[in-house]
């Protein structure tokens, strides 16, 4: 499970990256010092699973979740005010770096410069190669993967774990031929990330931009057989819709999540990594995780135990 997303990352032209960096560094020289000076940490978040949950009650929209609390604690750690800035998968990069970037045809396509609105992206933000072109990730703090979730009545049967993640991914991909599989661009469920077209699966992309937690309802509403879904949402889904969906097996190897920083905010990233190490060591991080993902330890106990152990070193 030590495979990294970078393996499947499409390497963009260095020039573009250079320009982006120059532009960004010129336009947004906002690092830890500036944030501390200004006294506010702006947290950009796309609602996703229990990382950033959005509840709307009437006109009031509240946000909660693992990453919200993590960032609030971090802001408190820095001694600055905390501010949440909601975002979407399509806009979140521009709001952080001042120039949006999208993953199209296995390469990053940058948009026009725009004002920087936030200081960090934290919403179960999977570390992907193409994303590393745009942002700088902190140390990873949460494991993840993408699974194939099928309707219960589907002919697709859950695989029997072989003990090898790679073999299991292979087994799942083997079953996808001619199957209607839902995926979503620009997210961690992007079919290009997993070479879904290569499996000869009939990939269905929702015309409307969906939240990840809307994937299963979408699956249940259309004549599709299965959908890609990250682990966190899969676990929530099988609790939410038992008897209606089933998990077939992994589409990806294990992934990691991290906090995204502007590449010209190294001190801020440094500070966060320091902070993460600190809370992992004192156990408060695991408590925070358990609060929002009580079942995650059942799957990723090793990850969390090892990370805590490393942090203590």
């Amino acid at each position: 499970m030590k495979l990294r997303c970078a393996a499947i990352l499409n390497k963009g032209p260095l020039l573009v990256l250079f320009f982006f960096w120059v532009f960004a560094s010129q336009a947004m020289a906002r690092d830890l010092a500036e944030i501390k000076a200004e006294g506010v940490l702006r947290h950009l978040g796309v609602p996703y699973a229990n990382f950033v949950s959005q509840y709307s009650e009437g006109n009031k929209v509240t946000h909660s979740g693992l990453d919200i609390e993590l960032m609030q604690d971090f802001a408190r750690h820095l001694g600055v005010e905390y501010q949440f800035v909601p975002a979407t998968w399509r806009t979140v990069f521009g709001m952080l770096t001042g120039r949006n970037g999208q993953f199209i045809n296995n390469s990053v396509v940058y948009g026009e410069p725009e004002p920087i609105i936030g200081d960090v992206i934290a919403n179960g933000f999977t570390i992907l190669d193409w994303r590393e072109e745009i942002v700088a990730f902190s140390d990873d703090y949460f494991p993840s993967a993408v699974w194939l979730v099928a309707r219960t009545e589907s002919e697709l049967n859950p695989i029997k774990p072989s003990g090898s993640a790679l073999d299991d991914v292979f087994m799942v991909k083997e079953m996808l031929r001619q199957r209607d599989i839902i995926a979503m661009k620009q997210s961690c469920l992007d079919p290009d990330l997993y070479d879904l077209y290569d499996t000869q699966a009939n990939v269905i992309l929702p015309t409307k931009q969906l939240q990840l937690n809307e994937m299963v309802p979408f699956l249940l509403s259309v004549e599709a057989e299965a959908t890609l879904l990250d682990v966190a949402d899969s676990l929530i889904a099988i609790d939410k819709w038992p008897n209606e969906i089933k998990i077939i097996g992994p589409i990806s190897e294990e992934q990691r999540m991290g906090v995204g920083f502007r590449k010209d905010s190294p001190q801020l990233r440094q500070a966060f990594n320091q902070y993460l190490k600190q809370i992992r060591a004192d156990g408060s991080y695991n408590k925070l995780v358990k609060k929002h993902y009580p079942t995650v330890f059942h799957y990723y106990r090793d990850y969390f135990d090892k990370a805590a152990l490393d942090a203590k070193k």
């Binding site: 859950p158 695989i159 774990p161 038992p242 008897n243 089933k246």
Partner: protein, 789 residues
């Protein structure tokens, strides 16, 4: 003290007080015992029902608890996590990809369920498991503990949704609630929830206390669960797994209650509270009863003391009663003695005193006199004895009645007592006779003073029944020792002196002298001789002619008694007639006169039609009817015409006029008997009677005639009498004409008749006959002369 009070006092004494106290105490004790006993039985009843309720409460609670637990388990079996797990399992999901999460959730849910179901801090379920029908343990809250899956009734649970399953564990039976878990209506697993036995035990013994003996045993098919044991005799058999109460006492309270909807039975033994509670137990009653014993003993002892006391008291009471009785008797005796003394003295007084006047009576008076005589004999003094007699008492007594007479006597005695000294003795001898004894009289003059003072007492009138009476008195006196040396003599002599006063005309006093005694002796002799004279016919009748004054012819003869005794000589009628009136001989004398005079007159009728005038004493009229019939008889017997009889009565007769007398007089008048008033002018001369009685004549007393010619007042009186008689058409007879002068005087004043010595003395019958004959002869001569001439 009154008898009723005494009995009341007796009734409430210490004995009755003790008896009442004893009764009250007994009642009190009985009440306490009854109430206690009642309270005990009530307590037992309520204890029984309370215990029953308690046990019921336990079983109900247990039943409810198991029921609720079953429901709880059933709810758990239908939880989302359960169904999710089994649906994911059924979907064929692998633990690695998805199912593990469901299992994790399921485990967490079961753990939560196990941990959250707590009661009083104790877990309700000691172990919760989910065992798949393929006998694989899916979830186990105590995975480290051994669990024998094979004992689960899988087969049975395929058809049962739930079951209370009992397993024999190391520490006794384990109660497992089984709940079949279905997935798409097929049993997929069994939810096994073992109930926490400690909790059950605690629940079933909430109301038990170590200090109250009780034993609770939950009987299950897998053996007994000893819930509570604080009772001696409740023994558990660990081998058999049973518990029971072993004791020979039957007092233990036992309940056996089935726990509804479970295979359990709750056995319970309770020690009765009353056995432990001294205040309400039989021991308490016994203690009270025992306590009562000394109290009763005390009461009995008190009774005994009181009885002894009572004997004394009774004796004292008896003796005091006797004393009182004796005192009463004594008092009565004293009273009786006093009464007797009083009555004796009364009798003595009555014996010695006159009832009416309270003066000493004759006997006493005489005794006193005798006493005085003895004293006087010693002291050489004189005693004056006054014999007092009221002069006209008889008259008062007869006219006004005896009551008036009595009153008069009383007043008289009062006056007498006032008039004498206190040392003098006044006694009533009887009737209107009183005796006054004056001891120590100096001489006769003093005696006169005494007598005068007594007489003067009677000068004032007596007032009796609104009438005024003048009563005079006569006093005869004798003096000791001059007139006698003993009481009888002195009295007799005083009486003699009294008679002399009476004879002298009353209202005066007289001393006794010897001559008086002679008079008395003569009177006595007269009395005797008069009797003899009457017997022997020595009383002669003399006749005095009554002449017609104008013709000087004899028209009548007045019959007059003459007695010449051989011893006493001639006795005047004035002497013996009052005597005869006193001794009753007057009736004989009157009869003699009447018969003889009438006989004589009848004989004389042949010679001349002379009338015969006979004097009648007023005493004779006391028996009017006899007198009347006698007169009629004599008239018939002698053949004298009634018209020839002339009855001469004194005025005094008419004073005592009564109805009988009136009737008699009018009868005789009718017969033709004449009626003359004798001695007119000497008596009371109440002239009114002249009108009432039809008198034919009245006779002027000789006293008026004697002095008529010499005394002008008498002449006037005679004239007046004659005039009055004329106007009343009465004939008048003048008595005692002694000379011609008198005769002429009367003749001139038209006095019809006259008698007296001038014409003739009273003469014997023979001589009177001669007088008549001579008169007739002279008449015959005259006639012859006349014829001759």
């Amino acid at each position: 003290m009154p008898k009723s009070n005494m009995t009341q006092f007796k009734w409430f004494n210490s004995k009755t007080a003790i008896i009442i106290a004893g009764t009250l105490l007994s009642a009190y004790l009985i009440l306490i015992l009854t109430v206690t006993n009642l309270g005990q039985s009530r307590l037992k009843e309520s204890q029984n029902s309370a215990l029953n309720l308690r046990v019921s409460n336990y079983t109900d609670n247990l039943s409810f608890f198991i029921d609720a637990s079953e429901k709880n388990i059933a709810n758990l079996s239908m939880k989302r996590d359960v169904s999710t797990y089994f649906s994911n399992l059924a979907a064929g999901m692998s633990l690695q990809y998805g199912l593990g999460s469901s299992l994790f959730s399921l485990t967490r849910t079961i753990d939560n369920f196990s941990q959250s179901n707590k009661m009083d801090g104790q877990l309700v379920y000691s172990r919760v498991m989910i065992v798949g029908v393929g006998q694989s343990v899916i979830v186990d809250t105590q995975p480290e503990s051994h669990f024998d899956i094979s004992q689960l009734p899988f087969k049975e649970m395929e058809s049962l949704s739930h079951k209370i399953h009992l397993v024999r564990g190391e520490d006794g039976p384990i109660i497992q609630l089984l709940q079949t878990i279905y997935h798409q209506n097929k049993p997929v697993a069994i939810l096994v929830a073992s109930l926490n036995t400690d909790l059950l035990i605690r629940m079933l013994s909430t109301q038990e206390h170590l200090d109250s003996g009780s034993c609770l045993n939950l009987v299950t098919p897998a053996g007994d669960i000893v819930v509570w044991n604080s009772l001696n005799g409740c023994v558990s058999d660990t081998e058999l797994g049973t518990t029971s109460y072993y004791s020979d006492t039957s007092r233990i309270i036992y309940f056996e209650k089935k726990v509804i909807a479970t295979p359990f039975v709750l056995e319970s033994w309770f020690e009765p509270v009353s056995e432990q509670d001294i205040f309400t137990s039989a021991w308490f009653i016994a203690a009270i009863s025992l306590l009562a014993l000394p109290v009763f003993m005390g009461l009995i002892y008190l009774m005994r003391i009181n009885n002894a006391n009572l004997v004394l008291q009774t004796q004292v009471e008896l003796s005091s009663e006797q004393q009182q009785k004796l005192a009463m008797q004594n008092t009565q005796l004293h009273e009786e003695i006093t009464k007797r003394k009083a009555s004796e003295s009364m009798l003595a007084y009555q014996a010695t005193h006159d009832e009416l006047t309270n003066l000493a009576n004759r006997t006493h008076g005489m005794a006193r006199l005798q006493e005085a005589i003895r004293s006087a004999a010693v002291a050489q003094t004189q005693i004056l004895l006054l014999f007092i007699d009221l002069d006209n008492f008889k008259q008062v007594n007869d006219t006004e009645g005896h009551h008036a007479g009595d009153l008069l006597l009383k007043q008289t005695s009062e006056r007498l007592l006032k008039s004498v000294r206190s040392t003098d003795i006044v006694a009533r001898l009887g009737g209107d006779e009183f005796l006054v004894i004056v001891p120590d009289i100096q001489h006769q003059d003093s005696a006169k003073v005494v007598a005068s003072s007594i007489l003067s007492v009677f000068e004032k009138p007596f007032h009796i029944e609104q009438q005024e009476f003048f009563v005079s008195t006569s006093i005869g006196m004798s003096i000791y020792p001059k007139d006698g040396d003993n009481a009888a003599t002195l009295l007799k002599r005083a009486d003699t002196a009294l008679y002399s006063v009476k004879d002298m005309g009353r209202n005066g006093f007289s001393f006794y002298d010897e001559s008086m005694n002679l008079d008395v002796q003569r009177n006595f002799a007269l009395n005797v001789r008069l009797h003899q004279a009457i017997q022997q016919g020595d009383i002669e009748i003399y006749y005095q002619p009554i002449l017609d004054l104008s013709s000087r012819k004899i028209v009548a003869a007045e019959a007059l008694m003459r007695w010449t005794d051989s011893e006493l000589g001639f006795v005047s009628p004035e002497d013996f007639i009052p005597l005869a009136e006193k001794n009753g001989l007057i009736h004989r004398l009157g009869d003699i006169v009447l018969l003889e005079a009438c006989t004589q007159a009848a004989a004389w009728q042949a010679i001349s039609p002379v009338k015969i005038a006979i004097n009648f004493s007023s005493v004779q009229f006391r028996y009017c009817e006899q007198l009347q019939s006698r007169i009629v008889d004599v008239l018939l017997q002698t053949g004298l015409p009634a018209s020839q009889l002339d009855m001469e009565v004194t005025e005094s007769l008419l004073i005592d006029q009564g109805h009988a007398l009136m009737k008699m007089l009018s009868y005789l008048k009718q017969l033709g008997v004449g009626l003359s008033i004798d001695d007119f002018g000497t008596g009371y001369s109440a002239l009114s009677y002249l009108q009432r009685f039809s008198f034919t004549k009245l006779k002027i007393d000789r006293a008026f005639i004697n002095n008529m010619t010499t005394c002008s007042s008498d002449a006037s009186l005679v004239s007046a009498i004659l005039a009055m008689a004329k106007s009343l058409k009465l004939k008048v007879v003048a008595e005692g004409i002694e000379n011609e002068q008198q005769a002429l005087f009367l003749q001139q004043r038209s006095c019809e008749y006259g008698q007296g010595y001038l014409f003739s003395r009273p003469v014997p019958a023979a001589e009177f006959t001669r007088l008549l004959l001579r008169e007739q002869h002279s008449i015959g001569l005259v006639e012859k002369v006349e014829q001759a001439s």
